[in-house]
Symmetry: C2
Subunit: 227 residues, 2 copies
């Protein structure tokens, strides 16, 4: 189906489309035009049509999109129908939050098992997911089809655990450690959730707004002074 290598920016928008379409479907809305979808997401209709055209033809000119069909199509593009399996490494606060509250299965991903070094929790389970010892990781990865690992270990173990994972055949990592775990040319697929990058972007946008507000206030002061 995919006709061209799709840009990262387009890929990043696909999950947003999916979430919005799920919302619309839940509201009982059957059809949506690219301009309606654009209004909801703060994108132009042509942007949306262009994004979808990377993956083939979805809509019919003048009729808009069938919400459910488009949702299914995007979910498929994102691979949610492929039955990926995951393991989670590191059952600290973040690992625990993911096991407790994050619905992996809603996104087509099956979280099989978690691993940790803490003897107090090894052998237990959270939300039905067993917690095993890190010593058992190689055998587990040899015996099970595992498509990705969730890395939620403390910073200082990020690189050594990454090595252990790749040596045992893991090709994709969802990285919560805020450490760059792969060189740019590495074949390892890494998706980073760098919390600090996100906070710094927010800090930038706050600063930008404060500067704009200050500039506006200064302008108004000057105008008052002139009068």
């Amino acid at each position: 189906m995919k006709k061209i290598k799709v840009s990262n920016n387009v890929i990043r928008r696909m999950p947003r489309y999916l979430r919005k379409l799920e919302e619309l479907e839940a509201q009982g809305i059957a059809r949506v035009s690219s301009s309606e979808l654009g209004n909801l997401l703060g994108l132009t209709p042509s942007q949306i049509r262009q994004d979808f055209s990377c993956f083939g033809e979805f809509g019919q000119q003048g009729y808009g999109y069938n919400v459910s069909a488009l949702k299914e199509e995007i979910a498929k593009i994102l691979g949610t129908d492929r039955g990926y399996s995951a393991v989670l490494i590191g059952v600290g606060n973040i690992g625990r939050a993911l096991m407790d509250n994050f619905c992996f299965s809603a996104w087509g991903c099956n979280l099989l098992c978690a691993f940790d070094v803490n003897k107090d929790i090894i052998g237990g389970q959270i939300n039905g997911i067993p917690i095993k010892s890190m010593d058992e990781l190689p055998a587990f990865l040899a015996e099970n089809k595992v498509d990705l690992a969730v890395l939620a270990v403390p910073k200082e173990f990020a690189l050594s655990v990454t090595d252990a994972l790749t040596e045992n055949g893991i090709e994709a990592i969802w990285n919560f450690t805020n450490v760059d775990i792969a060189e740019p040319d590495s074949p390892l697929i890494v998706e980073n959730l760098h919390f600090s990058d996100s906070l710094l972007a927010l800090s930038y946008y706050i600063s930008e707004k404060k500067d704009e507000d200050a500039a506006r206030a200064a302008r108004m002061e000057r105008q008052k002074a002139v009068k």
Copy 2:
């Protein structure tokens, strides 16, 4: 200093530059060229020069960048020297993980206080940060300069808590709820950490690689059959 409205993509790269420069500084490296920095980050030198040019002149042609000076400059652009203050709403797993492990102060942000509805933890503290009742939120926001709120409440409370925050003067939210809390045209500054969007992007890249691998294998099969 800022000469033009800077694109979102550029803003998103600035924290990555900052992290890499901190790493280089820690390694005792004093100067770095745009091509060296590019190699480390998987970006072209011209991309890097272009990004920096949005904010003025940093390097000297042929001499590269002074690592520490560039780091300071980028930190300033990102607003880490402005002393922003935050409150955190929702001391569940994610909230707790942030209070315990995320070093707000390293990014120039002062986490003043957390709020929750759970009587068992109200009055206590985590990592020196007090936990107060949600009932105390309006008074706290009235009495303290608070620049942003970290939203880590369960999904179903995301919108009502957002309303409570904006009604009490909060203009920026770091959103961990996986709910879209603002319309596209809202003046509220929202930075989302949508875990599921990130997992879906990873799922896409895994699928892309599996498809490429399968296509390559099929090609080789055909070549073998021809021989």
